[in-house]
């Protein structure tokens, strides 16, 4: 790149500084425009008048303020995650589920696993499927168990020749369904949430095992 475009750009930049400052102080004098192409000046004049700042609706503003307050409340709470590596039952943290529905990446940001100002990291994160909420609630335990049984059934069927062992598969499905139902009845934890230690830490804004402080 030659010096000329940079010098022209610098002169135009000074002109824009003066133009925008004049608007701010409601000055009635035009800024000095020595050396600035008249067409550039005209484009700047049109853009300065056309590109207005827009305020969102009051309803949106207050709804988002409420969600931010929810998230702020969750951040202010002490760590709720229980110890242990596999999984833990924890009370529901302060943040409303709407916060995590609005942005599934918030949990990872809270945990310090993701920097939202890093373009590359955000690009990678948004290209990967993100778990909606790191929580499993009450009856979802059963549906998850049935889903796992379904996967196991498909794998089992794929390993068998066609027309072989159908009765056996029905018995396996029945056993799995009974086991899921029994687990659901025994648990009785519809008000509790199950999460792994690391995802629970993410939800309340503390670092998981091995994570940053």
């Amino acid at each position: 790149m030659s010096d000329d475009p940079e010098i022209e750009a610098l002169v135009a930049d000074r002109y824009l500084d003066a133009l925008l400052a004049a608007v701010d102080r409601h000055a009635d004098d035009s800024p000095s425009h020595a050396g600035v192409d008249p067409e550039i000046r005209e484009a700047a004049r049109v853009l300065r008048a056309s590109l207005v700042r827009v305020h969102p609706s009051f309803r949106f503003e207050e709804r988002l303020a409420g969600r931010l307050a929810d998230l702020a409340g969750a951040q202010a709470r002490p760590a709720l995650a229980a110890g242990g590596g596999g999984g833990a039952v924890v009370p529901f943290p302060g943040a409303s589920p709407a916060v995590f529905d609005a942005d599934p990446l918030v949990a990872a940001i809270l945990a310090g696993d993701l920097d939202p100002s890093d373009a590359e990291a955000m690009d990678r994160a948004t290209r990967q499927p993100v778990p909606r909420r790191p929580l499993i609630v009450g009856g979802a335990i059963t549906s998850a168990a049935i889903s796992l049984v379904g996967v196991a059934y498909v794998a089992w069927r794929a390993s068998r020749p066609a027309g072989h062992g159908t009765g056996q598969s029905n018995r396996a499905m029945a056993r799995a369904a009974r086991a899921a139902r029994a687990r659901r009845a025994a648990a009785g934890v519809s008000a509790l949430l199950v999460a792994t230690a690391s995802t629970a830490a993410a939800a309340v804004g503390t670092a998981g095992p091995g994570g940053p402080a």
Binding site: A9, A43, L47, V54, L64, A65, G73, V106, T126
Partner: protein
């Protein structure tokens, strides 16, 4: 963004200066009590929303992007590092630059996920906001609605970085240094981006005038 941490004395050519960030007190209050983030939210809501609206051209998409930007900013606030350089001046806000970097990433992801330009035009989305004739206009003649529509159309046709630079310069009234921080470019590169973008808009406006003829312009 390289530079001394705010509040510390930064040595520059033998002299020492104290670099301040105009949002420092608000940021510190929000760090102590996350509920105090509300003040920063109210202060920058219209700016972030406007940026998203000019980028996405749709009110609903702009609201979604604005919501995500502020939720992410609050979630990441404990790790935000206040930094400024002496040349940024006393009015610099590295918090605003940081917030707009988050907004830029959020908007970029939103644009990619939609995989196409918005069905509604930016001109339609802005509606009555077009062709605002400021009584205290520094130029003699006001901008006509046609000129404003033409300028917005020209902006929409610009490459992403040029369009964003123009939006940050004219809508958010950011300095070149701030825009450089948001876009992750050098100040020289930003100046050239803006100059070329203005040239493209000027050509579009000139072409339109030639089509309509000199008598039709106010």
């Amino acid at each position: 963004m390289a530079g001394p941490v705010l509040g510390q004395r930064a040595r520059t050519t033998g002299a020492s200066v104290v670099v301040l960030d105009r949002d420092r007190s608000l940021v510190e209050a929000a760090r102590r009590d996350p509920a105090q983030f509300d003040a920063l939210y109210r202060k920058y809501l219209a700016q972030v929303y406007s940026f998203a609206l000019y980028e996405l051209g749709d009110h609903h998409a702009a609201e979604d992007a604005t919501e995500r930007t502020f939720l992410r900013a609050l979630a990441a606030l404990p790790r935000f590092r206040e930094q400024a350089r002496p040349e940024d001046g006393p009015d610099a806000s590295t918090f605003r630059v940081w917030l707009f970097r988050i907004a830029r990433n959020t908007v970029a992801n939103e644009r990619r996920s939609r995989r196409r330009r918005p069905a509604t035009s930016l001109e339609a989305a802005l509606g009555a906001g077009l062709a605002v004739a400021d009584p205290g206009d520094v130029e003699a003649d006001a901008v006509t609605r046609d000129e404003a529509t033409q300028a917005l159309r020209a902006m929409r046709a610009l490459p992403d970085d040029r369009r964003r630079a123009l939006t940050l310069r004219f809508v958010e009234e950011m300095s070149t240094a701030e825009i450089a921080g948001v876009l992750g470019r050098s100040e020289g590169a930003v100046r050239v981006l803006i100059h070329r973008a203005l040239g493209a808009v000027a050509r579009e406006l000139g072409t339109e005038r030639e089509t309509r003829g000199p008598g039709e312009r106010r």
